[in-house]
Symmetry: C2
Subunit: 352 residues, 2 copies
């Protein structure tokens, strides 16, 4: 394979010193970029864009043309697995993701089959291969999946939810049934992420968007257990390099110690936790990724720069930190402000 | 004043031993009760019910007729202060609270005046007086208010919000303006809660429903500072008894140490934190209130009982714990399940 020209991101994930703190942004290929909106218009709806290898590759690379990012992330959705399982993912205009056929009975769950990525989700691995080739060693490529619990919430609710009434009712009244579902999803995620790694993903991230709605004990039993199972089941090396795994539970700041014990390499942090206190709690066990509130990107350059400096200072050393937002960049952000953010990370962390 | 027949709640707030762990439920007077729905139907809309002294008193007392609760809480809304400031609170059917005149300019904020409860919110103090009289010493009465930050989010957004874009934009781009608003709100809350105490409230709780959407440093600066100011400004004793203050920041589990340093008496906990680890962190500085996930009330009696036992065991002693849900009880819960919950708390914590 081509030599990697910028390995800051991989070095930080391995907790090795770096010349500058690496940075990327969740949802960096997205609606805040006019060039993205143009391609999206061409493709039609969101899933058509995900399924079009050339266009998915194009939008993945777009932010790298504008900004000095240290990683690329596959353009896709966290709900591709339930879609491949037959639930019929769609996006109603102005609303979040929905399923035509949400899980409504025990039989629905019993009949679900673990996916085979090589048959069911070739559009994803095709995109990974093409992006990796097009990147040509510029920066590492991140593959990703939703966590089993997060996928289950959407599959049970049929869409996003305020209080996850259906999913939690199943958790408390039919825990075995939920475990059956989560186990199928964990096996599917393992297959899916391993296929992405074999196709060229050099790092993988598991997005546990809704782990934070659970109680401490329910989180351990219904979300973290399955993420740990995935970490165990992943290919450890590809192209002679380790393949690091990042776990990101939004709202998971209370549970970092348990997350760090899964064997993962890095924890994603949302903005509610002070990154210095997070580092103190996990020690050198894992790297940390985060954690600026994306809302700060609406502020003046000085405010963005001050916050970047504060977070770098709070983390306090030059190894083991991947700078990122605490959640995805929102469509209303001016690309110039994203550039100020990214440049500030490199400037203020520069060891020279 | 009448002698208090059940002081378990006050004893627990003072971290004194109790015969049984006291329990109440956030939103215990609410839509899950058929007798509430009937009175609500009589009153018309939600605010008409709040403003009708007799009916507000009636629904406050309803859950005490059904369940062995150890406290009553004033039936009202957290948004009475902004309504009194002229923003025009209303509830559209099936939606959350909204304002006819949200804050849209600097002038809107500059023109706001600190409320005078004795003039602007007599319907609240009238209800407190009547409820206290009708309770006749049965259990203590809790008064409450929204926190300044939480009130500000609704006032700026005009309604609840997914990402609080307007409020956060103000926080990061016009922090002085937001501080001006928060200061007016803190002074209003002090006046409001002191008026409730003088009218008969024996405990007060500050609901910081949206503190948890802030970063660690923004929480300290824009939410906790103002709650601390309120704690400082409250009347400390009434009827020869201390008036304890409970702070509840939903999603505030990472910040307990700072909250405990405000001089408050008790911290409300949502269900995401293990109450034993919370107690370990705050020591004997404050009592703790919480923290069962209200979703568990949908489960079978055995599951509810097991969870009550687990939380009691995690807290681990018989002083300083007020049992509660981690958030309000939802309208879909069967009253019988609420009874199972409340009885379980008393049964499993009984020292006899």
């Amino acid at each position: 394979m081509t030599e990697l020209k910028n390995d800051r991101f991989l070095r930080a994930l391995a907790r090795q010193p770096v010349d500058k703190t690496p940075v990327w942004m969740m949802r960096q290929a997205g609606r805040y970029l006019p060039e993205y909106r143009q391609v999206r218009g061409q493709a039609g709806d969101f899933m058509s864009l995900c399924k079009n290898t050339e266009l998915a590759c194009e939008v993945t690379l777009q932010p790298l043309e504008r900004f000095e990012l240290d990683a690329a992330i596959l353009f896709s959705d966290i709900l591709t697995i339930p879609d491949a399982m037959g639930l019929g993912l769609y996006f109603a205009e102005g609303e979040g993701p929905k399923f035509h056929k949400p899980l409504r009975s025990e039989a629905d769950i019993e009949q679900l089959e673990v996916i085979n990525t090589a048959i069911d989700l070739t559009y994803v691995t095709d995109a990974v291969s093409m992006i990796r080739q097009e990147l040509n060693g510029r920066v590492p490529l991140i593959g990703f999946s939703g966590s089993p619990w997060t996928l289950a919430t959407y599959m049970i609710e049929g869409q996003s939810s305020r209080d996850f009434a259906r999913a939690k009712t199943m958790l408390y009244t039919q825990p075995e049934l939920l475990h059956q579902l989560l186990d199928k999803l964990a096996l599917s995620v393992i297959d899916y992420l391993n296929a992405q790694i074999l196709a060229g993903a050099q790092v993988v991230q598991i997005f546990d968007t809704w782990g934070g709605v659970l109680s401490h004990s329910a989180y351990l039993e219904f979300s973290l257990t399955y993420m740990a199972k995935i970490v165990d089941g992943l290919i450890k090396q590809a192209d002679g390099r380790d393949v690091p795994v990042i776990l990101f539970t939004k709202g998971g700041g209370l549970w970092l110690e348990a997350m760090a014990n899964t064997g993962c390499d890095c924890l994603g942090l949302d903005w509610t936790i002070d990154i210095g206190s997070a580092r103190h709690r996990v020690g050198d066990k894992v790297a940390l990724q985060g954690n600026m509130d994306p809302a700060i990107l609406r502020a003046k350059p000085e405010v963005i720069q001050r916050e970047v400096k504060r977070i770098l200072g709070s983390f306090g050393k030059n190894d083991g930190h991947v700078f990122n937002l605490g959640h995805g960049i929102t469509p209303d952000i001016a690309p110039d402000n994203a550039k100020i953010f990214i440049d500030a990370v490199h400037e203020f962390s520069s060891s020279s």
